[in-house]
Amino acid sequence: MSTVVELQGLTKAYGKVNAVDNVSFKLEENKIYGLLGRNGAGKTTIMHMITAQLFATSGELKVFGEAPYENARVLNRICFVKESQKYPDNYRVIDVMSIASSLFPNWDQDFADSLVLEFQLPLKRRVKKLSRGMLSAVGIIVGLASRAPLTIFDEPYLGLDAVARSLFYNRLLEDYALHPRTIVLSTHLIDEVSQMLEHVLVIDKGKIIIDEEADALRGRASTIIGTASKVDTFTAGKDVINREPFGGLASVTLLGELSAQEHRQAAEIGLEIAPVSLQQMIVHLTNGKWDRKAEISL
């Protein structure tokens, strides 16, 4: 499988603050990635650098094997849909679609037309007059119909209701099955997308803290519930990422897989083991209480 994006020690500094701090990862061809993290963690900055809209302070960046800056071979294969997308003042929805069709080489007009109907977008309305949800729908349609080999969605569904969001997920998966490509989804709504993701990257304070296959990640954390003292004995020496006491009970979230023996042991002393959703796990890892110097080795 070939590598589409490769970052080596990429750093973006604003004054003394490193918005992106020595980040390295790879994106492989035809996979769906989740780039997850809190606001201000550096997600958007990374995506702006991958698309050559921002310049890195240091480090190496290759997209389709080449530097993306002013490189038509690379840029032609990218579609970056962002929440803060600006459109020229006088543009109508139909103007955006028409421009997208002439700028993106793989544009599928029929697909775009059907999406416009499904999202109930008024083609003749000026983009400036659209509601927040409709504005997001414009971005989503451009992102899907462009069928770019590297398609990046940065918080694409602000203001979209649950129906429209699930429409987006369904169309994305269907079209991805027919036309595989590399997709990066950056989002807060982790639980909603977690089933679609094949690979998860979690960024916190400018650093990558998780870079793992989604399947491997699920089940990597578990919550132990029971009497506080028993829970503490059981979890002593293990990688605790969260501890919540309530009365004499405690609920402790652990990172790392538990062995069959540990499962038996827990059952014997009356402890309950519950799975942790991806979202919960990331909340625990990035809520600031848990601080770790190095990248975690799962």
């Binding site: 809209q53 921002l54 002013e70 038509a72 990218i78 579609c79 020229p88 421009i99």
Partner: protein
């Protein structure tokens, strides 16, 4: 894939702004002059044509803010954005210049100043040249003004407000010093004599040299601009 047509489309898609509005403004200016001309009965020389020139300057300033971020986020290279914009404006300028020349011809040769000795499209000094010359003068003026605005706006794109303030402060200082030196060494008459001898075509060609400088300058700004 050649992207220039796509980038030209980014500009021209705004038909109201590029095709309708400048001519609506010009026609309003023209109508006002027609009304004055017909009621006063006096031979009128008017600078109403300047509205289209000012429009080009404003369009140049607005263009960077309106289309650059959009184009770049739709995976367009900065270089292609620049070349596409240049091609679009060159076509618009030459096209407009041809229309203006035709209107000027109707004015001076066919209708005797629209029947009321109104000189709106066909102005002295410019009309010293032949048709091609007049088209060149108009097109060069429009290109010059558009890219003057474009260059100023690209400083803003690259260095923000602070950059723009610094730039204008520098220009102000340079102007003040030059004006002082001209007065101090008593060179105004030399400049006046020189300007008096310049034909409209020569002036237009001189402007084009400035346009070239604006082009190189704005390209160097946009090349390093981010979103």
């Amino acid at each position: 894939m050649n992207r220039l047509p796509g980038i030209m489309k980014i500009h021209l898609q705004d038909k109201w702004g590029w095709i309708i509005l400048p001519w609506v403004i010009l026609m309003i200016s023209f109508s006002v002059n027609l009304i004055i001309g017909s009621t006063s009965g006096v031979e009128i020389y008017t600078g109403g044509l300047a509205s289209i020139h000012i429009y080009m300057l404003v369009a140049g300033i607005a263009s960077v803010a309106q289309t650059f971020p959009f184009a770049i986020s739709y995976s367009v290279r900065r270089k292609d954005y620049f070349l596409g914009t240049l091609a679009t404006i060159a076509i618009i300028s030459v096209g407009s210049a041809i229309i203006l020349w035709a209107l000027g011809y109707i004015e001076s040769e066919l209708t005797g100043g629209w029947g009321m000795k109104l000189h709106f499209f066909n102005l002295p000094y410019v009309s010293d040249s032949n048709g091609i010359g007049q088209i060149w003068i108009q097109a060069a003026t429009m290109l010059h003004l558009f890219f003057l605005g474009f260059a100023i706006s690209s400083i803003h794109r690259r260095f923000g407000k602070t950059g723009l303030y610094t730039f204008f402060l520098a220009i102000f200082i340079i102007m003040t010093v030059s004006l002082f030196l001209l007065s101090f060494y008593d060179r105004w008459t030399v400049i006046g004599d020189w300007l008096g001898d310049v034909t409209a075509i020569e002036a237009a060609s001189g402007l084009s040299l400035l346009t070239m400088i604006y082009l190189l300058f704005s390209y160097s700004m946009l090349r390093r601009s981010t979103l």
